[in-house]
Assembly symmetry: C2
Homo-oligomer: 228 residues x 2
């Protein structure tokens, strides 16, 4: 089994690559994501690309891309992480802003047997408490058909399916406003000049919420047919 650091690096590269539509991940991006010095990343990744099997491809001054072997490990760790999040939420009553931190440590130590038992207890869930997809044992991800809230048309109704990012403060804030998974919402207006997006939660109070673009970008919506 790979060390905890190795697993963290590979997971981070995978996630950053995903966030950048497959672009190679630069040294400094990875370093600041992991909270280590650039030089540490250079050293660590150098080991990865001379490992057997090779875990990342590395083009100096371009960045890192996972090999299939590296991606496999990353997906295993992500599967652990997200299953644990689900389990903590469903079996132990954690809220969605608490699960990430705990899972971050547990993901490196659970056995495959434990993973299987958790998955079974949960009925093999396909997404975690934030709507992030859980890879299956082979690493296949179930992709949702969603768009960021920023791209939802005015008056177009939709359902919240996923929230990107793990900042507990933001997650708590969203939950307080009723912006949780499966909530039905509708965009009332989008202020110009990149201003806030005003939305309403359908079938709930008539309150109108204004969200900044940064936040709205992280809320992924499954559009539904416009019923009005």
């Amino acid at each position: 089994m790979k060390s905890q650091s190795t697993e963290d690096y590979l997971k981070a590269i995978y996630q950053l690559q995903e966030m950048q539509n497959g672009e190679p991940v630069s040294t400094s991006t990875l370093a600041s994501w992991l909270g280590v010095a650039n030089a540490s990343v250079t050293g660590m990744v150098k080991r990865f690309s001379s490992a057997d099997p090779k875990l990342v491809e590395y083009e100096p001054y371009t960045g890192f891309v996972l090999t299939d072997a590296g991606e496999k490990i990353a997906l295993e760790v992500i599967r652990h992480h997200r299953l644990i999040e689900c389990y903590l939420s469903q079996a132990l009553g954690y809220s969605w802003d608490e699960v990430h931190e705990e899972a971050e440590r547990l993901e490196h130590v659970i056995s495959e047997a434990m993973e299987d038992r958790m998955a079974q207890a949960l009925g093999n869930p396909i997404s975690d408490p934030h709507g992030d997809p859980i890879p299956d044992r082979e690493g296949n991800l179930h992709q949702l058909n969603v768009i960021p809230l920023t791209q939802l048309a005015v008056e177009q109704p939709g359902t919240i399916r996923r929230v990107i990012g793990q900042e507990p403060d933001l997650l708590r804030y969203l939950a307080e406003q009723g912006l949780v998974l499966s909530a039905h919402i509708k965009v009332i207006s989008k202020a110009p000049f990149n201003g806030p997006i005003s939305i309403r939660i359908v079938n709930s109070s008539e309150t109108i919420l204004a969200l900044g673009r940064e936040v709205a970008e992280k809320i992924l919506i499954q559009p539904s047919s416009n019923t009005r």
Copy 2:
């Protein structure tokens, strides 16, 4: 938080001290228990006894004894370990020979919050699947009134309350024979010259089981009044 190794060392010292009725633990005993070289123990324990607060008292050529601060940490780790064992057994269907290995890694990474939630889900158990007592948050242990099976008198009935040791093979063997917690047994005979002890499981088949002294020493019995 202390490193995983530190926690392992302190836990080991605690358990060895317990097994030796409070005797100081020698370098080589600890080293072979942990599976590391003697020199590694010397180095590590030296750090502990010059730490702030000091974690072990060390008398050269006599051995190590935990200070109150060291014992506190050891008991926290043991509480984690045993609660996890309980949880795995009750919530995820692990058998008593499987729990130890998994708990051995999880004990170092769970948060206090998770510990509390597990304890609550289990109804604050006071012993783990092997009958080992679970320290409470303050480190208090509930001591059972038990004796090793080797000391149970012939014809004296008793109940299995605890099994010492975590060897999966032994635990599986015992379970197959019906020697599980709460089983009622009676000693039929004790062969002389340290020979095997023959027992019968009360209220079950009439089969007579012969156990070696080594094994019998690890089975702790709560004697009950002789009803015949």
